[in-house]
Amino acid sequence: MDFDAVAQSLPSYAHGALATFELTLGALAFGMLFALPLSIVRGAHSRWAWGPVWAFTYVIRGTPLLVQLYLLYYGLGQFEAIRDSFAWPWLRSAWFCAIAAFSVNTCAYTIEILHGAMRAVPAGEIEAARAMGMTRGVMLRRVVLPAAFRRMLPAYGNEVIFMLQATALASTVTLLDITGAAGEMNSRFYLPFEAFLTAAVLYLAITMALVGLFHSAERRWLLPWQARSS
């Protein structure tokens, strides 16, 4: 092990960790923003409402994230109309494409997680809310969503960890995240073990922290509620 080289590269790993954080948090935030309304549409009665949302999640969940990322970053430049459009400065940037691809991907998974959590809300609670004279919006806000958010915690924790690891793909479109920093160090010193092992340790540490975070969130919000409902 050559720890000198690792120490020399630590600043670029720190920058990489920051990029990994930004990519993960950005994707999760945008993904949740769109998943929340879409998951309600996903549970709608009309086939014309839930059909398109189901098709969207089916296609996204059925194809590799790498394909989605390459389609956006390398694929869109094929069309002249897009190259000439006002959006091209964004669509040309690796940052924008990575965040967009990751957001769309996690959005699809979050829709299904939220939809499942909402369906798991006991029918009696919804009937009670209706009997109290709540409108659909009020019922969603006060009864269904709070229950669904608690219930989705374990599955969403997995999704967050999956997203963190998926951001490693950003290094394939030239971004310098943790994996990108490792690739850079490897090409500078030709020390693949040290370079990728350092990256692995960093990811492992962040994953552990996230696991702990979700564990305490579950204890805080899920456990007391489960004890009451059973």
Partner: protein, 228 residues
């Protein structure tokens, strides 16, 4: 079809499937071994299995693959130097399938462990009381029931695995993804070929899902289902 690159993409799709199946075989073996270690009375084995499943789930597959491919090559080079072997190059197919198999072995460990625990202990005890050997009890009684419990998570893991084979294109295997990239850059139509690759992956996952739905039904024969 596809400007003459259709056949090339199909060949790549074949390699993608080959990578997926070989990885599945490696992952299953590791999964059974891991589950046995986790369920064993030996503390060292249990700890080893715990470290394996924890570490794997915390490291991205891409990083793991680079570690095995580039790091493994360096290791082999050093060994070759020391023992005066001929030059050995690590085959990307071996590195890719080992990585994916190694990663999904950790998930399989949890699946098999859960499935084993889901079969009531009395089933195995009754089989042994009838005079079956432990092997027979596993094959005839516990195994089929385990499979029923394991099928749902197995299908999930298989789908994730098929999709994650796309990363082997990054260490130079000519899989579906790699061929789509090459076709896209030589025709200047990357969108078309990445979309075509996406459709092929979608076909794989859809067919797998249908097959697993059929299997689930088959293995649930004899289980009473109650609708709430």
């Amino acid at each position: 079809m596809l400007q003459g690159y259709g056949a090339s993409l199909l060949t790549g799709a074949g390699l993608t499937l080959a990578v997926a199946f070989v990885s599945l075989a490696i992952a299953s073996v590791l999964g059974v071994a891991g589950a046995m270690a986790k369920l064993s009375r030996n503390r060292v084995l249990r700890t080893l299995a715990l470290v394996y499943t924890t570490v794997i789930r915390g490291v991205p597959d891409l990083v793991m693959m680079f570690l095995i491919f580039y790091g493994g090559q360096l290791l082999v080079n050093k060994l070759a130097d020391r023992y005066h072997w001929d030059d050995v190059t690590i085959d990307p197919f071996v590195a890719g399938t080992l990585t994916i198999g190694f990663i999904f072995g950790a998930y399989m460990t949890e699946i098999f462990r859960g499935a084993f625990l889901a079969v009531p202990a009395g089933q195995r005890e009754a089989a042994l009381a009838y005079g079956m050997t432990p092997g027979q009890a596993l094959r005839r009684i516990v195994g089929p029931q385990m499979l029923r419990h394991a099928l749902a998570p197995l299908s999930n893991t298989w789908l994730v695995m098929v999709k994650s084979t796309a990363i082997v294109s990054l260490i130079g295997l000519s899989d579906l993804m790699n061929r789509a990239k090459n076709a896209g850059s030589s025709t200047q139509e990357p969108f078309l070929f990445y979309a075509a690759a996406g459709v092929m992956y979608l076909v794989f996952t859809s067919v797998s899902e249908l097959l697993f739905a059929w299997l689930r039904q088959r293995y649930a024969v004899g289980v009473r289902q109650v609708r709430i």
